[in-house]
């Protein structure tokens, strides 16, 4: 696979805002490394990503996502396939469907991948949703905690929205409270990397980049978002939010997280393993501790009743 070149995230986001029809700006928002890099543009500089993950909201808006994809294709956006999957049919299992990835009509500076927010607060992995385009059926990925990224959205100059880093961090922490063995389909700078190591490493990078006074606001934001999106599950989620991070700190895969940070959002900053461990301490003490405490308090009140 060709090594990705470093790009200016703010320039990419401005180009994306300009390429997308204006009326779509209020139907989608950007998540992932581009969103994080755009939020911390002065600190991060250039990043190696061409992937603009676009979340279609509100929750479960499959038809909205379909309409957006068809409209972009009608405007000349060019599809690219994920992996070797061809478009499927209505009976194709979700796991065999290609994601919708589209390059803009005039250039290859980035591509968008459409995702959808899950409906409800049920636990567990979400199946990709089937959506029919002109040449067949595609899949819309959705993840259990993606709904959190809808909260506290930020808006760029130019009008495009993106997920706040604190919400992306929360979603990643909750997604990996148990460290799984899944290895990512694409290596990071030539190294195979476990999904949990990349996602939890991303959390540490986001904390590193966040000014401390802003980090102090994360605990309240997290609780507000959890109560909004998971009204019945929030005590259990809040009380366990730090479990995966604590497990990572004593796992051999912490080194993979360090590698991901060094090749990703923290490229060129020379952030050491010791520094990232200190960052984890800050997150655990200043944010996670009070969130877990709130979750435990609520859970114990419920159990008494």
């Amino acid at each position: 696979m060709k090594e990705a070149i470093a790009v200016d995230p703010v320039a990419i986001l401005r180009t994306l805002a300009s390429d997308l029809p204006l009326d779509l700006h209020d139907q989608v928002f950007v998540i992932g490394s581009l969103a994080a890099a755009g939020h911390h543009a002065k600190e991060v500089g250039r990043v190696k990503t061409k992937d603009a993950d676009l979340v279609v909201y509100p929750s479960g808006n499959t038809s909205g996502a379909q309409q957006i994809a068809l409209r972009l294709l009608g405007l000349g956006w060019r599809p690219t396939r994920t992996g070797n999957f061809p478009p499927g049919n209505v009976a194709t299992p979700a796991k065999d469907l290609p994601a919708i990835r589209l390059y803009p009509p005039q250039h290859d500076d980035y591509f968008v991948e459409l995702l959808i927010l899950p409906e409800g607060e049920q636990a567990g992995t979400k199946d990709w949703l089937h959506v029919e385009l002109d040449d067949g059926w595609y899949g819309l990925p959705s993840f259990e905690f993606l709904a959190l990224t809808e909260c506290h959205r930020q808006r760029l100059v130019g009008g495009l929205q993106y997920a706040h880093p604190s919400m992306m961090a929360l979603a990643n922490l909750l997604s990996h409270r148990v460290l799984g063995d899944e290895i990512m389909s694409s290596p990071v700078a030539g190294r195979p990397i476990r999904r949990h190591a990349k996602d939890l490493g991303r959390v540490l990078a986001l904390v590193y980049l966040e000014p401390r006074p802003e980090l102090d606001l994360w605990a309240d934001r997290w609780l507000e978002a959890l109560k909004d999106k998971f009204p019945s599950r929030w005590p259990e989620l809040a009380s366990s939010v730090g479990e995966g991070l604590r497990a990572l700190l004593v796992a051999p895969t912490f080194e993979e997280s360090v590698h991901c940070c060094a090749e990703g959002l923290l490229v060129g900053k020379g952030v050491s393993e010791a520094a990232l461990r200190a960052i984890a301490k800050v997150l655990l003490a200043d944010v996670i501790a009070s969130v877990e405490q709130a979750g435990h308090r609520k859970a114990s009140r419920v159990s008494v009743i």
Partner: protein, 351 residues
Amino acid sequence: MNAALTAALEELGFGPSGKGGRADFESPDGQMITEVKANVAGARDLHAAIMELAVRANSGLVSRAILLILNTKMSNDGLRRVWDASLSVLRPEIASRMHLITSGEGPQLVLPSTDHSLNEMARRVATRWVERQRAPRPFEVMKILLNRWLLGRGPIAINELQEQTGLSYPTVAVRLDELGDIVERRSNRSVLLRNFPQKSWSELLITASRVRPSMAFEDATGRPPEFSYLLKRLARLRPDHVGISGVAGARHWQPSFDLDGMPRLDLVVHAPDGAADLDFITRLDPALSPTDKPYTAAIVVHVLPRPASLFTAESDSATVWADPVEILLDLHELRLVEQADAFIRYIRASQ
């Protein structure tokens, strides 16, 4: 064995080994041992202590052997050289089990320095234990009098001077005699300084690193510290035994203090019984980690082991400020000599 030190190690899961034990302290499963050595005078003593611990670490059960050195006069560079040289002759599997912590008057040394749990152990030991100075705090009488001279507070009764310094009458009397003619004695058994005590002050500056126990902390994340943020957090914590000193303290007393930015945050911890409570450091910033480099540290904590803190706190503010004498000591340590002289002139002129 110092009770505060024992308490600190027990908090970390160590228990006294007792007679016939492999070391002074060990963990319940026997995998971690700690040997405490006080007053290591030089390289030979240190090498002997290291080899003694290495023999004890040569047990299949031991995974971590910690040498805790208290109150050594060796420099951190010297300690590091002897440590590295001694470990180089050990089998690698033994050397990898060996760890060093020093705690005493100078900056702490922790080896290996990146070991997170070792740093935590070092912090707790320093929190609970500060060796009382052998000498009866030779400069405290002068410092109290200098505080009053700077702030225009007039004479102090000798018995009050005893209370504030924690020194006996004979010791106070000796210190006053040593100051000589610069002390004016009143008929009502009170004393005050006539002028700035230049000779005694110069002696204090020369010996400050020995008579003024300090601990330096760096931000282990490697990010530049945000001092205004740290000060706000300190105000929220409200530790009333901690006074803000150094450049931040100087700016409080002298708003026109002539310096751009702040090199570090100096704090004075009041420890009337000699044991400095540094638990607030982790709550102030969980990223703070002990360092042996005070000039590049984010925070330096100076211990003030006397009964009177002489801190000031505004009634409508949670912030506590160190007294101008402690601030002057920090300015000199930071080599801000011109600013220190200007500070003295300003404080005197504003009384």
